[in-house]
Amino acid sequence: MKEGFRQSMAWLHTWSGLLVCWILLLVFCAGTASYYRNEITLWMQPELHAAAGQPVSSEQAATAAQTAMQERAEGATRWFITLPGERNPALQLGWNKPSKPGEKKKGRRGNFHSEKADPSTGEVLSKPRETRGGEFLYRLHFDLHYMSALWARWLVGFCAMFMLVSIISGIVTHKRIFKDLFTFRPKKGQRSWLDAHNVTAVLALPYHLMITYTGLVTLMFMYMPSGVTTAYKGDQDTFFSEAFPARVGETKAAGVAAPLTPFAPLVRQAEQRWGAQVGFVSVNLPGDANATVTLRRASGRDMSSKQPTMEFDGVTGKLLATYGEEMGGASNTHGVMYGLHIANFASPLLRALFFLSGLAGCAMVATGALLWAVKTRQKQAKALAAGKRPSFGLRLVEALNIGAIAGIPIAFGTYFWANRLLPVGLEERPKEEIAFFFGAWAVAAIVAQLRPTRAMWRIQLSVGAVLLASLPVLNGLTSGSHLGAVLLGRGPVAVAAFDLVVLVLGLGLAYAAFRLKPLPAKSVKSAKPATKADVTPDTAAGAA
């Protein structure tokens, strides 16, 4: 009976994993990259590299923002100001223009204007090229693309649920989880793939469990609405305003003009109260007698994603209310789970550890997919030796593996190349960059379906390697902040770090391609060489 249970779990592990592994790989790669989405966006806007300079106090930045907004955001009904922090040196200003009567609505964000400004003067930074930057990768990892966000989130949630099933059944199946904890035997075919799969899964197991579970938690109100529906009798809005009271309310305008209170004393008051920096300022109805100013604490080292806010009267500067300073247990649990998933609290070192664990996750998914192909090929070895063709399923999986594992790094690399090579003034530039991402990936995937061979692995891995490893050179040629300049202290460290990481990932891919050199005629039978190094880097590269 016991053996039967374990075997049925092995079956569950195999199929729940295989069914969703290619989407999961994309989600994992894009999600891992999202740990550095600010840095990626900075890399993709070389016009801003020079501005990433002196830190400015949040009081000073808030004052500069207020002056700038009063000059430039005439007639706006809401202001959104993100103050500079350790990972975003620029001041981010946003406002919505009131839609004129008779004017067609341009969608939800149609009338929203946003720009980056110098935090000490409030002047607009030299207008950077338009790009979605790291934001695209972040959205990609739960909204996918070219489909409605709602369907995408259901799809990703479905995959995440399968992943959770896969992880738990995997733990049950893994008989020697402690005995084999440190075991990796390279160059032993299927054995090595299994070892690599086990090692990347078990060593980062706390991370895998955490990220999958909290990933589901981030969208739990969508996946499991019944609790809220029952408790609030279907009134979702009341629930959200009670659960997340910090959201800017819908106060009616008085229609009487009144000057806005200066931000600096408010910021000082909030920082004294919290003992931490203010990260975000929003203003409702600026210039009106009913104006309110809301300050939100910057995410510090606190694990919860929920930050307290203070609401002030926008004319007198009187404190009206505070929210989120004393949170209930459930709310706090939700905040910590959400916080763990997005890791905004992480110091640079901890962020790097999250990134590394994310790469281990990519490697786990990729080795799992490869393992299925290697095992199935083994089962069909006799038929294959007799000159028969591989079964349809095997061929399909092998082709999808190439398209995903070797194809995703190509897509990432192409996205970054397009960012630098497309003309700066191009119409709808962000869309074009994204089209290059998916275009390159589609080509890789289709070509892989046509010829899923060892040579195809080699070619695609090499292409990915060249695209990624040459990014530092491209950066040097198309911006002033090449590696040398940054090492001499004349340029942002984040850009140099990006260059080095993609270089390492590219070299990893190159090594994998090298290991796939044509076999001597006699051992053609074993289709792929098997070491961890062969797969870790190529999946990893996607996450750059």
Binding site: F182, P206, L340, L353
Partner: protein, 117 residues
């Protein structure tokens, strides 16, 4: 001093994992030749040292950066050190163990520096 704190957690994790690894027959044999088994007393000592190092690492991480944050740092360090150790083992087992000794000594020194300060 933040880096020395982080370093201590890392060094303890690496040294601890290496001790636990060396206490296992297979990995002891990797180093001392096929079929070699660690003497009972050595095995016991390695296990104790390994678990102690890991526990002390966790305690130190929690003490220096808070229970929640410290635990996350410690788990992340374990994953990182574990991957490094496993990657080194098949290719350069002696270097892996040399690194473990260095990490152990460095951890003692770092702990001393932090205690004196």
């Amino acid at each position: 001093m933040e880096w020395i704190t982080n370093f201590l957690v890392f060094a303890l994790c690496y040294a601890g994992l290496s001790c636990l690894c060396l206490a296992m027959d297979r990995h002891y044999a990797d180093l001392h030749g096929r079929g070699a088994e660690p003497p009972l007393q050595l095995r016991r000592r390695l296990r104790w040292a390994g678990w102690l190092a890991l526990a002390f690492g966790l305690a130190w991480a929690m003490h220096s950066s808070g229970a929640g944050y410290g635990t996350v740092v410690w788990v992340g360090s374990l994953t990182c050190c574990g991957l490094l150790l496993i990657w080194l083992l098949p290719y350069a087992p002696r270097h892996a163990m040399l690194l473990a000794r260095v990490a152990g000594v460095a951890a003692l020194l770092a702990a001393l520096v932090l205690a004196v300060r």
